[in-house]
Amino acid sequence: MTAEIIAQGVYYQYAQDNNLALKDINFKIDKGEFVAIIGPNGSGKSTLAKLLNGIFVPTKGEIYVDGVNTASKEDIWKVRQKAGMVFQNPDNQIVATVVEEDVAFGPENLGIPPAEIRIRVREALEAVELTEYAHKAPHLLSGGQKQRVAIAGILAMKPQCIILDEPTAMLDPVGRKEVISTVKKLNREEGKTIVLITHFMDEAVQADRVFVMSNGQVVMEGTPRQVFTRVEKLKSIGLDVPQVTELSYQLRKAGIEIRPDLLTLEETVDCLCQLL
């Protein structure tokens, strides 16, 4: 597998701030990988997301998206086409007054011929299962649906990689589920590389790899199992672990022998049943 996104010694500092927002970030994300980035507020997750598609440029160091340096002025639109970005607030990223026109916004900006745009819009709406809403006004949709429209808008640009900056933070539980299952489907069925920044541990569990950020640095990295079994370390950073992991942690503390690396509800139920 080849690397999709490479970060080499990335530092970032906001203009009005003396502190570094990001310090010495190094990682490689492979093509088709699903990476979740977690971290407490102010840990630099969103800043990192904005660096990945060239909205911000590193103060020091380099980021490559599919071999293109995000800092190069001529290639910036290539970077943004390759790495599409979905933001937190569903209302503030929809431009047009009709769903299909909004999905068409990206490809229109890329100068794609109209007939081709139609095909892309139809495919993108199919991928997020919103075909029947093509002619609706976006403000009449639910939060989860709006966020899926935003994802469709990115898909229509045919990116290899989708970066989602806390896409579920403003949604209700139903909307969250819709968005996450759409993201997983795109990863599995269409092979899109996914970078999901999130507050919710149960979303991070579903990734192939988890990065934990704290104070502008990546402090832990590994599969969800590797990361979430280090309950004490996570808690010291100010993060929670998934509920079931917490349960097994507490049970072990109470002297009950149970696997420490439980992540999903099903495994936990199995394990608990065996104990009984």
Binding site: N92, Q93, V95, T97, F105, P107, N109, G111, I117, A137
Partner: protein, 265 residues
């Protein structure tokens, strides 16, 4: 509050609805000019015929179009009354220092009818054209003037974004109003000045949030490769069809008839 529509567009699929928005804008423009070229009552036959024809074809009743007059009735009445008394001529009736003249009556009625036809005719445009296609039409029509420095694409983009955010901001106004009312704000009592003052706790958060939205939207647009109108394509292309050409023929006939009537009647 959420169901507000700009220009009172009535969705439909009639021949008039399906016309290219450019055709409708051009026809409306010439219709307005025509109204000011007419110089006698008989000439009004032509614009009236045009409106009746459009009403039949679009399926929007004339009664509904006349509803649009309601907020403007004061202006029409004022025009009528001013004309009646201001124009000198054969006196029909005297009310104190004011003279009601035959010429005034004629001119007053003439002007009032002109205003009514103007409003009804132009409302046809917004009644049968969705704001989005209206925007597209304006963009296309203005694009030849880009060389003269008219920012056609930018204007159209601003209109689209405004239309997109009207319901969002209305919803937000509603939310802030309720939140402030829960904290004891009073938006209903007092005179105009007091009420305007009471609006401050509503407007400040609304403006702040609008600016934040603008900021985020700009970032989202850039992330989706938006870089102005250059090299941009559109999914929906405007196309003139035989329907549009027919409209031009019919409308030209009406204009021609009206112009000839200036000399014959």
């Amino acid at each position: 509050m959420r169901e507000i529509t700009i220009g009172q567009y009535i969705p439909g699929n009639s021949a008039v609805h399906r016309l290219d928005p450019r055709t409708k804008i051009i026809v409306t423009l010439f219709y307005m000019i025509l109204l000011f070229l007419l110089n006698n009552f008989q000439g009004y036959v032509f614009p009236v015929a045009f409106i009746v024809l459009a009403s039949v074809l679009s399926g929007i009743s004339i009664k509904y179009m006349l509803k649009g007059l309601r907020p403007l009735i004061f202006i029409i009445a004022l025009t009528f009354i001013l004309n009646i008394f201001m124009i000198k001529g054969r006196i029909l009736y005297e009310i104190g220092p004011l003279d009601l003249t035959y010429e005034g009556l004629y001119q007053g009625a003439f002007m009032a009818i002109r205003l009514v036809l103007l409003i009804v005719g132009t409302s046809l445009l917004t009644l049968t054209t969705s704001p989005i296609s209206l925007t597209d039409g304006i963009e296309k029509l203005l694009s030849p003037f880009k060389k003269l420095g008219i920012p056609a694409h930018e204007l159209a983009m601003m209109m689209t974004i405004a239309l997109r955010f009207i319901p969002t901001l209305l919803e937000e106004t509603d939310k802030i109003m309720k939140a402030q009312m829960a904290r004891g704000a009073d938006f209903e009592s007092g005179n105009i000045i007091k009420r305007a003052k009471n609006m401050v706790p509503l407007l400040v958060p609304l403006f702040i949030s609008a600016f934040r939205r603008a900021d985020e939207l700009a970032m989202a647009m850039e992330a989706r490769c938006y870089r102005g109108g250059e090299n941009r394509t559109r999914m929906k292309e405007l196309k003139m069809t035989s329907l549009d050409y027919m409209t031009y023929v019919i409308f030209s006939t009406i204009v021609l008839g009206a112009l000839i009537s200036r000399y014959l009647w």
